[in-house]
C-alpha cells in the first residue's frame, strides 16, 4: 500500500505538499502546502472562491490533483499517499468528510443513516445478509449498538428511529458528523459545519467538536466562514486566497497577520 518512500514525522497526521489543480485556465489551488498534527483542530479559511472546498476535494480524492502529494498516517500507522488511492478507499485509511449541504438519505432512519458510515467496516457480504447467517446478524447488531452509542454522544439518540428527512438543520449536521465518527476515523474533514446554524447551535457545535477531539482522539480539519467559531475552536488556522497559501498560525497570530487582513479587506473593496 505504501509506495511512498517518505514517512511522516511522529505526531504528524496529514501533510499536504505542493498540491495544484486547475480547471481549464483557472488555477483553483496553487502549490498549496500545510500539515495537521495528531489531535489537532485546524481551520482552513479564505475569502469566497479561495478554493477551500477544492482543497478538501483534492485531499479526499474527489479531484485528482495535477501535482503534489497528500501524505496521511493511516489507521495502521503507515504513511500512505492518498493520491494513489480511489475515492471510496479513503475512508478505510481513517479519513472521512462531511458535506456542505449534508447529503443524507432522507427516507432512511437516522440510525440507518449513521450505519452508512460503517459501510466499509462490515466484513460479511450480500449472501450472508440474504441468508441472515448468525455472523451477519451479530455483525449488524454490533454496529447498530455502536451507532446508538455515537448518537448518544451527539445527544440525538432519542431520535434514532425517525426519518432523517424533515429534521431541523442542526440535527442533520449532527447526523452527518455522527456518521463520520462511526467509521473509526483519525481525521475528520468538516465542510462548513456551522453554516445554517443559529448562535446557540454554533456554540453547542463548538463544544461538540472539542469533545470529539478529546473523546475519540482524532484530528479535525474544517472550513468555515463564521470567524468567531473558527477562532474559538481551532488550534491552528491555515489561510488561503485564490488557491495560494497565505499563512498558517495560531488564531491570534492569524487575526493580526497583515497579509491575511489584506486578503479579506481586499474582498470587501470589490
Amino acid at each position: 500500500m505504501s509506495n511512498s518512500t517518505v514517512n511522516l514525522d511522529k505526531g504528524m497526521l496529514l501533510k499536504v505538499d505542493n498540491i495544484s489543480i486547475s480547471f481549464g485556465g483557472l488555477k483553483a489551488v496553487d502549490e498549496l502546502s500545510f500539515d495537521i498534527k495528531e489531535r489537532e483542530i485546524v481551520g482552513l479559511i479564505g475569502p469566497n472562491g479561495a478554493g477551500k472546498t477544492t482543497v478538501f476535494n483534492c485531499i479526499t480524492q474527489f479531484y485528482d490533483a495535477d501535482t503534489g502529494t497528500v501524505l496521511f498516517n493511516n489507521k495502521n500507522n503507515e504513511t500512505v499517499n492518498l493520491n494513489d488511492l480511489k475515492v471510496t478507499n479513503i475512508i478505510k485509511e481513517g479519513l472521512v468528510r462531511t458535506f456542505q449541504n449534508v447529503e443524507l438519505v432522507a427516507d432512511l432512519s437516522i440510525l440507518d443513516n449513521v450505519l452508512i458510515g460503517a459501510h466499509t467496516l462490515y466484513k460479511k457480504g450480500i449472501f450472508s445478509h440474504i441468508l441472515k447467517t448468525k455472523k451477519a446478524c451479530k455483525e449488524e447488531e454490533e454496529y447498530r449498538s455502536k451507532a446508538i452509542e455515537v448518537l448518544k454522544f451527539m445527544g440525538i439518540d432519542h431520535l434514532k428511529d425517525q426519518y432523517a428527512g424533515g429534521q431541523p438543520y442542526g440535527i442533520l449536521k449532527k447526523i452527518g458528523i455522527a456518521r463520520t465518527l462511526i467509521s473509526d476515523p483519525k481525521l475528520i474533514i468538516l465542510d462548513e459545519p456551522a453554516a445554517g446554524l443559529n448562535d446557540v447551535e454554533t456554540e453547542e457545535l463548538c463544544k461538540l467538536i472539542l469533545n470529539i477531539r478529546d473523546k475519540f482522539d482524532i484530528s479535525i480539519l474544517l472550513v468555515e466562514h463564521d470567524m468567531g467559531f473558527v477562532m474559538n475552536v481551532c488550534d491552528r488556522i491555515c489561510a488561503i486566497s485564490f488557491g495560494k497559501f497565505l499563512a498558517m498560525d495560531t488564531p491570534e497570530n492569524i487575526k493580526n497577520n497583515p497579509i491575511v487582513q489584506e486578503a479579506y479587506l481586499g474582498k470587501d473593496d470589490d
Binding site: 479526499t60 474527489f62 472521512v96 452508512i116
Partner: protein, 354 residues
C-alpha cells in the same frame, strides 16, 4: 377461566410476533394464497382464476426486482419483459437438452446475471433518460431474438413445457405447482426484505440520493449499480422460469414493451420500496381488470389499459408513495372511529346501544 386466560395469552403472543416479525406476516400471507387452488377444487372459484393468481404471484417477483432497482438504487430499466421472456425460454431450452429442471433454471439465471452485468456496465456511463433508452434497446433485442432465433424459441410456434419434477422426486401438478409459486414468492419477499435492510440496501439508497456522499462513505458506485442490475435481472428471470413452469407454453409476442411498462406501473401504483405494496400493485394493475372489468365491459378491447391509466393518475395524485398507504389511512380512520372523532360512525354506535 384458567383456559381462557391461557388462550388470550397465546393470542397475545401470536399477535406480538406478527407485529414484530415481518417474516411471519409474509409466511401467513403465503399460506393464505396457497389456499386458492383448494377454493377452485371446492368450486367456489373458477379454474381460470387460479391461473390469474399464478400470474399475479409470478409478476410480484418480477416487480419486486424492479422495485429494488427503482426504489432503492434510483436506476431504471425498460428491459424487464425481455428478461422474463429469457427466463421462460431459457429453462425450456436447457430442460429440452436433458438438463434437470433445477440446473436448467440455474444456468438460465447465471446467463441472465451475466447479461445483467452487461447492462449494469451501461449504467456506469449513462443516467436517467439515457439509461432508460439503453435498456429499452436491450428489451427490444430480446424481443427480436424471441421472434427470429428459431433454434432457441421456435419463433412464432412457441415452445411447450411440462410441470417440473423437483429434485427428481416431487412431480408437481397444477395445484402443487401453484403452491411452489407461492413458496418462491414468499422466499423472494424474504430475500428482498433482507437485502434492503442490510448494508447493501443502505448503500443502494446512499448511492441513489447522492453519489459523492456515498463515495465519501466508501460505497463504490459502479459496484452497487452492477449489484442492483443483477438483482433486478435475477428477480425478472426467476419470474420467467416460473411462468414457463406454470403455464407450460411460451410464445414470443408476450414479452414486449407494453409488459415492461405494466410492471413499471405495478411498482409505482403498489408502492415504491414496499414489498406487500408490490403485490398490491400487481393485483390492482393486472388482477382487477382481468377479474372483474373484462366481464363487465365484455367486448371492449383494452379496458384494462384504460383502467390502469386512470388508476396511475389517481394514485400518483393522492398516494404518491404508492397505494399501499391506503392501509395506513384506513388505520388512521379506524383509530379516529375508536376515539369517537368520526361523527357518522358514532351515531351508528349509539343506535347499537339503544
Amino acid at each position: 377461566m384458567e383456559g381462557k386466560k391461557r388462550k388470550s395469552r397465546l393470542i397475545g403472543q401470536i399477535k406480538n410476533k406478527f407485529s414484530k416479525n415481518i417474516y411471519y406476516r409474509f409466511t401467513a400471507f403465503g399460506v393464505l394464497l396457497s389456499l386458492i387452488p383448494l377454493l377452485s377444487t371446492v368450486g367456489i372459484m373458477k379454474v381460470s382464476t387460479v391461473s390469474l393468481f399464478a400470474y399475479i404471484i409470478i409478476f410480484t417477483i418480477v416487480a419486486m426486482g424492479l422495485n429494488i432497482l427503482i426504489g432503492y438504487s434510483g436506476l431504471i430499466s425498460l428491459g424487464t419483459a425481455g428478461f422474463v421472456g429469457f427466463g421462460a425460454y431459457g429453462v425450456v431450452y436447457f430442460y429440452g437438452h436433458g438438463i434437470p429442471y433445477e440446473f436448467a433454471a440455474l444456468i438460465t439465471l447465471l446467463i441472465a446475471a451475466l447479461i445483467g452485468i452487461f447492462i449494469g456496465l451501461f449504467s456506469l456511463k449513462v443516467d436517467g433518460v439515457y439509461l432508460a433508452i439503453a435498456t429499452l434497446a436491450v428489451g427490444e433485442i430480446f424481443s427480436q431474438v424471441f421472434k427470429k432465433v428459431t433454434w432457441f424459441t421456435n419463433a412464432y410456434g412457441g415452445v411447450h413445457f411440462k410441470f417440473p419434477k423437483l429434485f427428481g422426486v416431487l412431480q408437481l401438478q397444477k395445484s402443487t405447482m401453484f403452491i411452489f409459486l407461492v413458496v418462491m414468492m414468499v422466499l423472494f419477499m424474504f430475500i428482498m426484505y433482507n437485502i434492503v435492510h442490510s448494508r447493501t440496501g443502505r448503500a443502494l439508497m446512499a448511492m441513489s440520493r447522492s453519489d459523492s456522499s456515498a463515495q465519501a462513505m466508501g460505497v463504490s458506485v459502479p459496484r452497487y449499480r452492477l449489484i442492483a442490475f443483477i438483482i433486478a435481472t435475477l428477480f425478472a428471470t426467476t419470474g420467467g422460469i416460473l411462468y414457463a413452469s406454470f403455464f407450460r407454453y411460451v410464445q414470443p409476442l408476450d414479452w414486449n414493451l407494453m409488459l415492461t411498462l405494466l410492471v413499471l406501473a405495478m411498482v409505482v401504483v403498489g408502492g415504491v420500496k414496499s414489498i406487500i405494496g408490490t403485490f398490491l400493485g400487481v393485483f390492482v394493475i393486472y388482477g382487477v381488470p382481468t377479474l372483474w372489468l373484462e366481464d363487465l365491459f365484455a367486448g371492449t378491447e383494452g379496458i384494462a389499459y384504460i383502467f390502469s391509466g386512470v388508476l396511475i393518475i389517481i394514485v400518483v395524485m393522492f398516494y404518491p408513495n404508492g397505494a399501499v398507504n391506503v392501509f395506513q389511512d384506513f388505520k388512521k380512520l379506524y383509530k379516529k372511529y375508536k376515539n369517537g372523532e368520526l361523527k357518522i360512525k358514532v351515531k351508528k354506535g349509539q343506535k347499537a346501544n339503544e
